[in-house]
């Protein structure tokens, strides 16, 4: 790949992620594919795996997956398995599945029934953050650690783990710095560019990702702001991994200024505490600190408390990033997010006074265009 720098390099790695991963492999690196934002990357980096986030492809027709998965399910994970069955992830040396939702759990099991790796582990993620659940999750991480040690012949010492935690805390901090720049109006970086950056660093060895992030921060701080002031949008819900989608939203009259998705702030929102118990800290951060509707939060005594427990953090995003509207992105057949629609709309529209647009979409660039008019109408309503 070329020697581009900063945002241009991120855009290139985003566009050619598979080629980039294969080049790493040719350089002798070991690559570990993982699902969602619940797999502690620190454990993978501690044995010098390059963690690569498994993503789908909204441009690719799903064909091979039809043999293994029904059509009535989340199209994101159908697409992931489809790519794997077509050999597009055949460079992986290890595989880490996770029970982040039913779809992810079942697909990771189907995946590893057909595609075998020397090292693989499926993390069962509890659905609550009760103290025993965090303890159980920690036990899972212990088992994952032992599995990796056994299969790679490398020891994950506390020191190595601590070093990896520091590395990823640095990365999360840099991403948050980038996100903070978006509080300006107009923001100096678009939602599309941010997505390119995040996907790029999810394919890069963390040290290199951090170096790229530092370059990008400098670049963004020092370049002239060309964006226009437009309604400011927070995106929440199912992940978006394709810039065709963010471009469509931004071209429809928005500046995307903040997100709450599994490729965005959920992955980078909080650091792992540096303590004498690294596994405990990892368990705490990954299970409790990541807020996603796949984890049940106590309802409290009544509905008002329940809503605050579930969506309070989003209200804070809206306030801090001064969002004028919320887009709730639902990939069709997604249960964890699908059940949230009425309450999330109610919370923002009736209690916070910010409009919400909820759309169920099919995770396919071919079906994006009809959504343009809905975003345009939403933007016009806000202006």
């Amino acid at each position: 790949m070329s020697e581009k720098k900063g945002l241009a390099r991120a855009a290139e790695i985003y566009a050619k992620s598979e080629q980039y991963a294969r080049e790493l492999k040719n350089q002798g690196k070991k690559i570990a594919g993982y699902y969602c934002c619940y797999v502690p990357l620190e454990m993978l980096a501690a044995v010098d795996y390059v963690p690569v986030r498994i993503l789908g492809d909204m441009n690719e027709n799903i064909t091979s997956a039809d043999t293994y998965l029904p059509t009535v399910m989340c199209f994101f994970y159908r697409s992931c398995l489809d790519l794997a069955m077509k050999g597009k992830y055949d460079y992986l040396d290890a595989f880490f599945g996770a029970h982040s939702c039913d779809g992810a759990e079942r697909v990771s099991y189907v995946w590893r029934s057909y595609l075998k790796y020397a090292c693989n582990f499926n993390i069962d993620i509890p659905h609550t953050v009760h103290p025993p659940a965090i303890e159980y999750f920690k036990n899972q991480l212990e088992a994952m650690k032992e599995t990796i040690e056994e299969k790679t012949g490398q020891k994950i010492s506390d020191e190595r783990l601590a070093a990896a935690i520091t590395l990823y805390n640095k990365q999360r901090g840099l991403v948050r710095e980038l996100y903070a720049l978006r509080k300006a109006d107009p923001p100096p970086i678009s939602g599309t560019e941010v997505l390119q950056v995040l996907v790029a660093i999810m394919y890069m060895p963390p040290e290199e990702g951090n170096a790229l992030l530092a370059e990008i921060l400098e670049e963004v701080k020092n370049r002239p702001v060309t964006a226009q002031k437009k309604p400011r949008l927070l995106i929440t819900g199912c992940l978006i991994d394709n810039i065709s989608f963010t471009k469509l939203i931004e071209d429809s009259g928005f500046n995307v200024v903040m997100d709450d998705t599994a490729i965005g702030s959920r992955s980078f929102g909080h650091d792992v505490a540096v303590t004498g118990d690294p596994l405990g800290s990892l368990a705490e951060r990954y299970l409790d600190k990541i807020v996603c509707p796949r984890t049940f939060r106590e309802t409290g005594k009544n509905r008002a408390e329940d809503l605050e427990n579930r969506f309070g953090y989003l209200r804070k995003f809206v306030e801090d990033w001064k969002a004028d509207g919320v887009y709730l992105n639902i990939i069709r057949n997604c249960d964890p997010h699908g059940y949230e629609i009425p309450e999330l709309k109610y919370y923002f529209e009736e209690m916070v006074n910010v409009p919400v647009l909820a759309i169920e979409q099919d995770y396919s660039t071919a079906s994006l265009e009809p959504l343009r008019t809905r975003f345009q109408a939403f933007a016009e309503n806000i202006e």
Binding site: P70, V110, P132, F296, Y339
Partner: protein, 451 residues
Amino acid sequence: MEEKKAKKRTSAKTLQTAREAGYFGKKMLANTRTAVEEGRPVAWSMVDWWLGVPICKAMGVEMVFPENWSAFCAASRTAEPNLEYSEMDGFPNTLCGYARNTLGYARKLKDNNYVIPPDSPGGGLPKPNFLLGCGAVCDARYKWFQAMGRYMDVPVWMLEFPQVGYKEYYLPGNKEKTIKFLVDELKAFVAFLENLLNKKLDMNKLSELVQIMFQTNKIAHEVDLLRKAVPSPMVSQDFWAVMTAHFYLADDLEAQAFYQRVYDEVKHRVDNKIGAIPNEKYRMLFAELPPWHTLGFFDEMAEKHGIAFVFESWNYHVPSPLTAEERHGISDPLELLARFSYHKFHEMAPVAREHDIDPIIFVAPYLNYVKEYRGDGLMGHPLLSCRPATYTLMHVRNLLMEKFKVPSVIVEGDIIDLRVFNEEEAYTKMDAFIETMDYHRELRKKAGLDW
């Protein structure tokens, strides 16, 4: 002109006990309504594979199951208005049909000041004091009840339910740590209940209920074993009717006595080589949740092709009893519950390991059933609105063919939604499938498989 025969909606059921089983669903509903009248607590619960329900019962809470009630609504074709209500409130029509049915119903209940609307199927569900969700098998199992907050305004408890892959299952110490987690979670649930209801859990009462439950499930398991007989003494149409007794009421002595009668009736058939259907020619398995609104389909398959649906629905079956070794030295009823439910979900780990496949749930059991019940084919029923019972159907289909040369027919439909069940297409597919089963019988014979 040739007159078209009207297709049957309900199933005739072959067992006398199956014809009587509808009583238990009605009993649960009536009990909860009486409890409300008498000022006793009531909860709506998800199916939780016996984990939290006996604890609630021991605390004097009457339980009712929206999944069971929704299947009833589907069978009586009374779900549609509720589905429309939930869609009007913004719930996507791709969510679980049972969930949408009760979300719509809950809205009606709220609009009616929590007085049960008079036209409610089966007499309706009263407003609960709390909702009991569960992390097993499906995201709907906890998201649905949380979403109910907008109508019910009562607390929800979420029971944890670990599901591990077979490789992880075999890691040293993993099982015992997982059981400990379950027990700790049950203790937290007890604390929640004690606080909410302002009374203490009577452990002796719970132990008593757990023993009844174990006994009922033992009988249910023995019935399952009897069903291996050729010809099949009890078919899926019977099972889906009688299962209410063990699945929802295992801790109820009346349900236990009923299941004993089911056992006796099935045993009589086995001893006398009486098949549930005349002229059994093909033995099929069914996965996973049935089209409740059109169960007559299975009778027609029996009549037309001699198909006996000999086993079905992993989800609804009891596991084998806990071994004496597993129970040894354990008197804490919470631990017994944890071990039993965990056992249900991991019993087939050795099968998954043998074939090096996952998951243990929903998939490995069929690799076992197909041999044990001598299946000639599988009917897979992907559901528009229940992904958990659908995700792995294609995987099961592939594995049955690869490992045992047993073919599958895939007929799309839904548990509730009539709009997606194309009956004509289903009949055509089944007609064509007969030849496929014949052909694979030959292949199995050549490959030395013994059925």
